[in-house]
């Protein structure tokens, strides 16, 4: 048996709906059509009345989900593309994220964001929004890189009492496969060592984990052992695991598909330099997408985002220092 990253997301929602009657799914085309990417395939028929098509109203989708939590519901929202969540950013960041702190009443919503670039996606179907949401207090932001994490972290997201922004990567939807779904996994909030090494650490997440793994293989042929930390969760960041890795390697490269200004890379580097300056043998480096909108043409897109070759090149520079 083999299961894709996308099928794992469907399976997690299936299990959540089966296990907990308070779970419902709301989003555009998620009903009998099964979602633009088929992440809710067959669920409307299996759980009548609990997988509901929404009008093209991201603000009202999230607002109503917030209200439903006060009646004991645990809504799972599908944004058709992460990029469209900007329409709902007010409800997510100002309404959902502030509720517990203002009132003491938790707001357990899960907002699924089909994120990241794919060939031909262009400026408005390719964005990586995690840093924007991570910046706001009151939100948890998850970025699964594996089939196992897509499944177990989505189940955990739905069970968490706080609002969770679940950034699932579209590039991984069909290409990433696992033999089976996990029965247990690391909890949310813990990073994973995706590859052990001793010469440099790459801290990354989501689709970039796989690009970094390919870069590490290339560098292994040159005699370098690269350690890769998959953050899994960008809010909170597992700073301890990152620092422990940097303590082993003395060198840090942060890789993210998001735009370069601020963001997860900047945050990790700030933490490592502030809390582990003495561990560093070289200035930390970061590699992001370029500071332009995301291009449509595949040849431009491939250069716009970090990829195994550019990661390998950055690592070589880091190791030369």
């Amino acid at each position: 048996m083999s299961i894709t990253y996308l099928e794992a997301i469907q399976a997690a929602q299936d299990r959540a709906l089966a296990q907990n009657e308070s779970v419902y799914i709301y989003g555009q085309d998620v009903g009998s059509f099964g979602g633009a990417f088929k992440a809710t395939k067959n669920l409307a028929a299996k759980y009548p009345g609990r997988v509901i098509d929404a009008p093209i109203s991201e603000d009202a989708m999230v607002g109503s989900a917030i209200g439903a939590t006060a009646e004991g519901m645990r809504p799972v929202l599908e944004m058709q593309f992460a990029d469209f969540s900007t329409v709902a950013i007010n409800q997510i960041c100002n309404q959902a994220a502030t509720q517990f702190w203002r009132t003491g009443v938790p707001c357990p919503i899960t907002v699924r964001l089909p994120s990241g670039g794919t060939e031909g996606g262009g400026p408005f179907h390719s964005q990586s929004m995690e840093a924007i949401y991570a910046q706001y207090p009151g939100l948890i932001v998850l970025t699964p890189a594996t089939v196992e994490d897509a499944y177990s972290m989505l189940l955990e997201a739905i069970a968490i009492d706080d609002p969770v922004v679940f950034c699932e990567h579209k590039y991984l939807y069909y290409h990433l496969k696992a033999d089976q779904l996990p029965s247990k996994n690391l909890p949310v909030g813990k990073a994973r060592i995706a590859r052990a090494g001793k010469h440099a650490t790459v801290v990354t997440y989501s689709a970039m984990v796989h690009e970094a793994l390919r870069a590490a293989e290339a560098l292994e042929e040159e005699g370098w052992q690269i350690e890769i930390v998959d953050l899994r969760s960008v809010k909170p960041i597992d700073t301890d695991t990152v620092l422990a890795s940097v303590a082993r390697t003395g060198r840090l490269l942060c890789v993210s598909e998001a735009f370069p200004w601020g963001g997860v890379n900047a945050e990790v580097i700030a933490r490592v330099t502030a809390e582990g300056f003495h561990l560093l043998d070289a200035p930390p480096k970061r590699l992001n997408a370029k500071d332009t909108p995301i291009p449509f043409h595949p040849d431009l897109w491939k250069t716009h985002r970090p990829a195994s070759q550019s990661i390998a090149a950055s690592l070589r520079e880091l190791l030369r220092y």
């Binding site: 308070s22 419902y24 609990r50 929404a54 009008p55 109203s57 991201e58 603000d59 009202a60 989708m61 999230v62 607002g63 109503s64 989900a65 917030i66 209200g67 439903a68 939590t69 006060a70 009646e71 004991g72 519901m73 329409v87 007010n90 409800q91 100002n94 309404q95 994220a97 502030t98 509720q99 517990f100 702190w101 203002r102 009132t103 003491g104 009443v105 938790p106 207090p137 009151g138 948890i140 968490i160 009492d161 706080d162 949310v188 909030g189 809010k235 909170p236 960041i237 700073t239 700030a270 933490r271 502030a274 809390e275």
Partner: protein, 345 residues
Amino acid sequence: MAEADIKDTNPESRDSASKYQTAFRYMLLARIFEERAASLYRAGKIMGGVFMGKGQEAFSVGLGLALDHHRGDVYGPLIRDQAGRLAFGEPLIDAARTYLGSVEGPMRARDGNVHRGNIAMGLIPMISHLGSHISVVSGRLIGKRFTGQTGAIGGVCIGDGGTSTGAFHEALNQAAVEKLPLIIAVADNQFAYSTPTSRQFACKDLVDKAIGYGIEGHSIDATDLSLCLDTFEQAATRARDGQGPQLIIGHLLRLCGHGEHDDACYISAEKKQQAFGGDCLDLARQQLIEQDWASLTDIEQWTAKIQEEVEQATSSAQREPGPDPFQESWQALSTQRLAEGHTRA
């Protein structure tokens, strides 16, 4: 507040007299409390702002009284709904504590003035982004539908300016699609801060929007308390009976600034002489007397009692402790293990 004797012998008109009296007293309580809050603001005792419902009390109380939180009804008030909040059942002390920054208040001094609520009671704690509370109330109705709580309705209030937001449009359309038992009260008070309605929308009457959404609409003179009470009561019945969202436009004039920091120099004296420019509280007082539902002495007694109640609430809130930054958890998540507050940088 003591009931005044109602001499009418006809039970139906006695009921309306009693309801009118109740509504009037909530309006009076709201007005006197807000005037006290404004004076505390001017004295530097209240930080941030004070937002008054002066001129809007009849419309506000109409919605508040039409809802019953004991039946599971949900209320999403906005900044000029002190009267509606009281009628819905929010204790006066919650208002005083939130304005005065007491940690005993529902928002524990983390949020202030009109940004207060009580989620368990069905009172939505508004955020400042206009229109965004409507879909939250809708969501509670959707949640009630899922959990089989039948018979409950929701009510939200918004101003003319708030109808220009995307959130308002998305929420009304969503409520219509879901056929929710939701009353949307739009207080068209002729100004959004300083912007007149001519710069806000181009339709003749905001009630015309109801046709576009496929919902029922009503447009009323919101300075007339009787009309407000009847309209909201009928709308509540229709919503409970499954007739879907009810849009009620109340025409009135804001008789104060946007907040106490604003002298409302842009509202001309003539405006107050024009249609809907009257003070609903004065008009209701006249009505009470003309209908022989209360005497001047009754009203004076109510006023004295209310003043005492307001004084008690504000002075008690002032004596309570404010927040202690050193005792504050500074954590925005309920899941403690995932909070980032420990960041050592």
